[in-house]
């Protein structure tokens, strides 16, 4: 089922919005996201530019200042709501995971995964 625009966020969307919790220049977002995620998530120039334009059109961010050709942005109230909604969705997912695997996780911790439940399989890497 296709995702409604911004109903759920991709990782890149999520981290861009996260960076704009405080005012930030568009160009610096790429480095910030990389640093925040330890290089796990990288945002390409084309993707970042497109997403900033889309967030602006959707009213999720606003332009705060322009120094020469460098524009800065910050989250709007709507952007915060979207970010919070996404955070809650991720927490709900994590919680659902914990409910299902909580018992097996404790066993795994106690037995250092050597006697881990076969059901866990590769879901429970050696700790």
């Amino acid at each position: 089922m296709p995702r409604l625009k911004f109903q759920t966020l991709t990782e890149q969307m999520f981290y861009i919005l996260l960076c704009l919790k405080e005012e930030c220049c568009g160009i610096d977002i790429m480095d910030k996201v990389s640093a925040m995620t330890d290089d796990r998530v990288k945002v390409g120039s084309g993707t970042l530019y497109n997403l900033l334009e889309q967030f602006l059109s959707a009213g999720m961010i606003k332009e705060t200042k322009a120094e020469g050709r460098r524009r800065s942005y910050v989250l709007t109230e709507k952007g915060r709501e979207v970010l919070v909604a996404e955070y809650q969705r991720l927490c709900t997912q994590a919680e659902d995971y914990r409910k299902l695997f909580a018992g097996e996780e404790r066993v795994c911790e106690e037995n250092a995964c050597e006697e881990a439940s076969p059901a866990l399989g590769t879901l429970c890497p050696a700790l």
Partner: protein
Amino acid sequence: MKESMYYETFTEAFAYYDRTAMKEYFEQKALEGWQLCRKEMFSKWVFKRIEPKKLHYAITYLPQFSNEDSFLLSENKKEYLEFCAEQGWQFACVYKNMVVFYNEEENPVPFETDPEVELAAIHKSMMKHSLIKLTLVFAGLAGLIFYFFLKFNDDPIKFFFSISGKVNTVILFIMIFVCFNLSEFISYCRWRKKAVAAASLGDFTKTEFSDKLFTAFLVIMTVLYVAVIFITTILSGNLAGLWLLGFGAIYVFLSAIVDNEKEKSQGKKRKALSILSFVMLFVLVVAGDIVKTHYENSDSSYTETYISDDGYEQYVYKDDIPLKIEALGLAVDSKQYSYELTNRKSAIVVITEASQTLRTDVENYYDLPHLNYTVYEIKWQFLLERSLADILNDNGLYGTYEQTDETVWKAEKAYKRIEFGIDKYNYLLCYDGKLVEFVSSWEITPEQAAVVAETLG
């Protein structure tokens, strides 16, 4: 190799959305020592000479811009390019709303990192690009169909004689334009379906263009073209269509040779086929008109000429017309007359036009009789009734046709023309499968009408 700033143009045709093929082509060119500078019309790419090296290329789509100028003149262009330069992506060129970047770093951060965002941009750009072209095709087609309808409505008989040339041009236009653009659009739709599914899982998909689809369209269009030529030739009786069929066969033969060139890239082949198609279209339209004119020329030829009182050259014909004034019982000197006959034939209509007119240098010109007539043999009853209705309704400002005694003319129906209250000795006669327009310079007697009916009816 010493770097020198000189340029070279290479021709390579790509589907508008085919970023994978473009990227691979530009990167290969960089390894050969060419760096992309700009795009020109008709699939031409201009490169400048560099040291051969590995460059990464990225093609991105900015649907918010409608053409190169709107991008190059936009206020945000410089900011955008600086943005991209932060990760080493340098601007190469722009074409419509497609922008090409290159990067000299060994492992640059990819230009696009979110497949869904990229797909949305490609889709918007492609819709603009394709819809404009396809709208032009179908608008043109609708316009031509409406034109044909108007022409048929205006004069159905004349329409059938001129159908061949018009339809040939239309079919060729469709053949060339639709083949290229429709196959691009359909290939895009197929690729997009796969790409959307992959993007939802966070994966990019290489673009694909189906050359087989293009070839399939070409074959279908060619078969249609040959069929239409046969049909219009039979309908119009105009053998020009068969000559054009010969040109079509040459086109198909040459297309097959180009397509089978194993060493040439698909882009070069498409380019060659485009050029071949336009050349053949030009040849067919020009040659078609020449041949068509030849076949539509009058069967008659003049036997002598003279100069009239007003200084113009006049022609005298001595064709064997079906009905002469002499046959109607009037004594005339045939040397004073020009007898002209024209025949046009098709599967539906045969038109015979004949006239016996006086030379303008004859004494008592206004006292001597003359006549002319046109016989329409129409095989389709509805067309005959339609033609009759058109003639009766025509020229309402100058006169009208009034029904007259058909028994005199031994006809099913008979009408005479009255202009400004004056009997013009102009008759419209309906016989079985025939319409006859008969014009004389004197009032026809019943006996003469019977001769007309026997000869022309």
